[in-house]
Structure formats: C-alpha cells, structure tokens
Symmetry: C2
Subunit: 341 residues, 2 copies
Amino acid sequence: MGRNRATLADVARRAGLSKTAASMVLNGREGTRLSADAHQRVFAAAEELGYRPNVAARSLRTRKTATIAFVSDIVATTRFAGGLIRGALDAARERDHVLLITETQGDATFEQYAIEAMLDRQVDGVIYAAMATRRLTVPPAILGGPVVLLNATSSDDLPCVLPDDDRAGRSVAAVLLEHGHRDGIALIGRNRLKEGDPEVSLAAEARLNGIREALGEAGVTLLAESFCTEWLPEHGYAATRGLLNRSPRPSAIICMNDRLAFGAYQALGEAGLTVPDDISVISFDDDPIAAWLRPGLATTALPHEQMGRRAVELLLDGAPTGNALVPMPLRRRRSLAPPAG
Amino acid sequence: MGRNRATLADVARRAGLSKTAASMVLNGREGTRLSADAHQRVFAAAEELGYRPNVAARSLRTRKTATIAFVSDIVATTRFAGGLIRGALDAARERDHVLLITETQGDATFEQYAIEAMLDRQVDGVIYAAMATRRLTVPPAILGGPVVLLNATSSDDLPCVLPDDDRAGRSVAAVLLEHGHRDGIALIGRNRLKEGDPEVSLAAEARLNGIREALGEAGVTLLAESFCTEWLPEHGYAATRGLLNRSPRPSAIICMNDRLAFGAYQALGEAGLTVPDDISVISFDDDPIAAWLRPGLATTALPHEQMGRRAVELLLDGAPTGNALVPMPLRRRRSLAPPAG
DNA sequence: GGTGGTCGCTAAACTGATTTAGCAGAGCAT
DNA sequence: ATGCTCTGCTAAATCAGTTTAGCGACCACC
C-alpha cells in the first residue's frame, strides 16, 4: 500500500529549497517571508511528484490525525445507523477528516478495547453515538479530548445532538387536529420503562409530552392509550386488536414508532378496516417501511443524516452553544383523512 | 486526546534498560538474548505506566497501521450495510485491527478523494464493498496493496466474497418442491437489466439459474414469470395483482427479494387471499420485514455478517483460494404450506 | 563605519517508535 | 597470553514530517 511515494524531502530537492521551506509553503503558513518564486517552485514540484504528505509522520509531530472516532453502542449495524454515519461521513469529508468506526455492542470489555484502539491512533475527537435516543454514561477515558454525544445525553456536561421528539409529538398531534380528529385519538406504544428511565429512552417521554401538550392546548384528551412491552410490529398488532374490541372505535391512531404502525396496519387489514377512510394512522421515525406501506404512512422523520452532520460540525467547528435539537420533519402521506362519519 | 502518555523511553528508563531492549521485549521478538529478568522488568514497567505504543510513531517506521479501509459505493448507509460492517468490525477486532470507513456514493470525485485519504493514512489493506452484488471496476490506486472485494467481483484477479445466490435459488425451489408445489409456481422479479448486466447485479441471474436448475431437475417449469423494473414493494404488488388475474392461480410465489414479497403480501391481502393457505410465498434476502410480516416470510438470508467477516479474514490472513461463496441460509417461516386443494 | 533591522531562507532538533550494527565481558581453547 | 565465540545489552540511524533558532546578505540610519 503506497510504497515509493514522494516525500517532502523530494519536493524540497526538486524545488531547490529546504524541507522547512517546502513544509511552510505547503501548509500555507502565514508570516513566513518566502518569496513568491519559492512558493511557485514548491507547488510545482509537489504537483509534478504527486506529493501527498504522510499522515503518520505528520501526526507524530503535531498530534493531529484528521481522524474522528465514531463509537457507538450498536448503532453502526442497524438500519438506523445509515443516516447517522452518512451525515457524519459527509461533514467529515468537507473538513478533510476521516471516520474510524467502532461498535461496543454494549459490552464493557469491547468498549474498553475500542476506546483504547481509538486513543492509540490519536483521534482528534470522539463522536459517541447511541442507537436509541437515551442518556448514557461516557467512559472517562475519552474525556481527555473533544467529545460529542450523538442521539444521546449524559450527566457530564458534553455537547450533544438529539432529535426534537417533543416537537415531533406536537406536530403529530397538530396534524391530526388539523384533519378534524378530536375525541377519537388513540395512542399505541406507552411504555413505563422507556418513559421512566432516561437510560433506556428519551424519545418515549418527549414524544408523549409533545402529543399531550398539543392536544391539551386544543382541549382534547386521548381516547385510549395502549401499553406495549416493545415497539415492534407484533406489539402494534396486538395493541390495535385490543383497541378495535373497544367502543367507540378510535378515528385515528398515533403509534410511537413506524414498526408499531406496521403492526397496526396488519391488524386493521385483518379487521377489514381501511386506512385512512376508517382510521387514520400516524407515527414516528420514517423507517423505510413507512413509504412501503399501502397507503403510505404519515410519520415524523428521525433526521439521522442531519444529526450525524451536526455531530461532526459541533466536534470540529467547536460547540458554541452545546446541545443541538434537530427538528423531525413531518412526512405527510396518505394514511391521514378526516374522521369517518 | 491522550496527552502525557508514557512512551517507550519512559518504560525503558523505569526498567533500567535501553529503548531497544524494551521494544524487543514488548514485541516478543524471537532470538533476542535478553534475560528473563529483563523481560520481567520491562513488562512490569509497561504495566505500571499503563504504556500504550504510539501508533503513529510505530507505523511511521513499520508502514503498518493495523487499519483497514472499508470503502463502499453506498453500502455503509443502507439497511444492508449493517451486517457487512459488523462482521468486518468483529473480525478486525479479533486481529487487533480497526476500520476506516468511507463511502464513495458512486461519485468518481468522492471516490478519488476517499481513496487518497485512505492511502495517506497508510492503511494495511482495502475492502471494497458494493451495495448490490455486482461486478465493478476497481480504482487502480488501491491495487498497490492487498484488496478484497466484498459483495462484488471485478475483472482484475482479486479475491472476493459473494453470497451464494445460485445455491439459494436452488434451495428456494427445493423447499417448494418439498411442500408439494409443482405446476403452480410463479416467479416475481424477472428483470432483464439486472439479469443481463453484471455491473448492475450478479444476484438476479444466479438466483434465477438456481431456481430453474432445481425445478428442471424435478421436471418442473415455472407457471409464470413477472417482470419488474425495480425490486420494490410497489412492483411486487403490481406483479402479484397481475398474476391473480390469470388462471390458473399460482399455488406458490417466489419473489426475487423480500421487498417484492412485501408487495405481494399486500396484494394478496387485498384480494382476500391467505398466506400460506391459499398461496405460499418465499423469497430472498431476509430483510427485517420478512420476520415482521404476518405470517413470517420464508426466505434465504443474505449472510452479511459472515461476508464482512470473511472479507477481513481473506485480507489479513491471506487468501489461499481467492473467492469465497458464502452460503445463504434458508429461513423457514410460516409462509409455506402444501398447495391448496 | 558601526549598528540595527528586515528579508529570504536553512540546519538541526523533535515527535516515538523499530531496527541495524556492534560493544563489553565472560568463558573456553590453544 | 591470545584469540575466539557467545551472551546480554545498547548507541545511533531511521521513518517523514513540523518547528525552533538563527544565519548571511542587504539596507538604512546616525
């Protein structure tokens, strides 16, 4: 890999100057008194030789590697990771940086190992990401340098990037009100664990609050709230069947995420009900399935790409404010209609 | 990030030996004549100081970085990437290596940039991955060092890791035959572009061949074959509606991937047909939705994690044979039953 | 005519590891 | 006593950059 590359010494020789001069020119150092001609010659020589600096040599001296560690609990291998990584990758590229990605899989030993591997490589900073939006404990080892939390907060006072679940909750409620739903709104996906323990989830509570506030301001309360042990299709399915056994039937269902909504669609389909004519459905996340469902599922998108991007920006450009709440855009799809009858 | 770490010189001083001795001991060099006592003292000193070698310094000298570049067209940000990356991550960790991940997004400029960034960092090897199993052209720049293609082949003679789509096709056909389907088997997802152009897909042709061969050996031919411009749910939906308008109705549907099968489920549900009592469905990929569908969708799993792992193994442990065809395990789920009637 | 300052540039130190070449002392044979 | 080998260890070079300290030439000024 990359033998016989031109070195700075080669460039300097070709330009008829010292390594010092070549280094200064190529780094665009201010305040140096090298002549315009010298600049010319160095640039030309570098160009002709296809010179690229050796990062190892440079970072040995400068302790900078133009490398960011992207450490996650498990995020890198889930469908949710894609956007986070892509956004981070893009922003890193724009800043001439590169991403060293590791996964701890929630295992303390792996985490220890991963972090040492990163620190050994002198990364310029660490993005510590979580799969589920939650509070976590940052391993002290990484606190020696810049850290940004992605999709997470911690008790340490670190800059972090979070989706604005509260506002998403409000907009979900708002769009239902806008369609004329009031007394028939049911919620699927209540979960005491997720709502009560910030180390498990921050999204659940925030979404719920947003929904309740927006409805409350309109003088509306939820018709029903179904609890689910997990937010998977089968739980949405079961919860929906439960709702349909009750009377009156809801006119709209809010699901705490798209997978629950997928389960809801399945139950509604089996019950012979049509979305949105019989029941409107809306949810959170904008999982790819939301667009694949028939009719398309209205939802609020987790802005993963934006979030990944923000994290790199906060890390490299400095975090003036600290936290960043990234808005979750509403995706209007055909699962919404005014209440039947 | 990681200031005031102990250096090798610190360790040597504390052990009362030279840097040379310390280096040799810590690297477990054979044939050195250092005393057992010297070994002891070095290890103790390293331990006490929490010594960790500076990777930049080491790789400046050795030209090894214990870092692998994972370059992909777009794989890193799709739902399919997860497994590939996780497998590679795991195998890399086992070998004390770390992954530098980049995405070219199919853009030549980005690719150029990404590859230079990797080479500047003296990666020990490159894993070049594609999202869709296909033939691609490897940028010449990376041919200077070890390269393994992941989910791809090329005209260069490089080791590559591919899913065994042909055998997957055979096992899909076999399991239908095993359930007693013969004359009622329809196929959804024919696509001349994917089948004909290896730069677009290798999977389509291989799956099709596998299916045809296994059916052919049993003296069975397909009842119908539907063409789809893409392999997305909406195309599976349309194709399935088309099939249902024909007579006789198929007893089983093979879909070229799970997203098509999702569309098929939607169409079957709307038509009031039940899987698997009226029609069996089986497909390829083992996308997460396969398990979420009701009933669970039988499919053959793309062994992404295995593949990512194999790629690292081939890269670091040497590729004795060259290519690796990774088996696609059959996931038996409730979408299969004997033909009705 | 010395002194001071600026200009344009360079030698050498430095980063922290690996690796080559070789030294001092012990033991042994001649 | 001399030469030889073996043992146990080290000094110094090396990798490819960045950075510090400073050199010689030239000019201006008093």
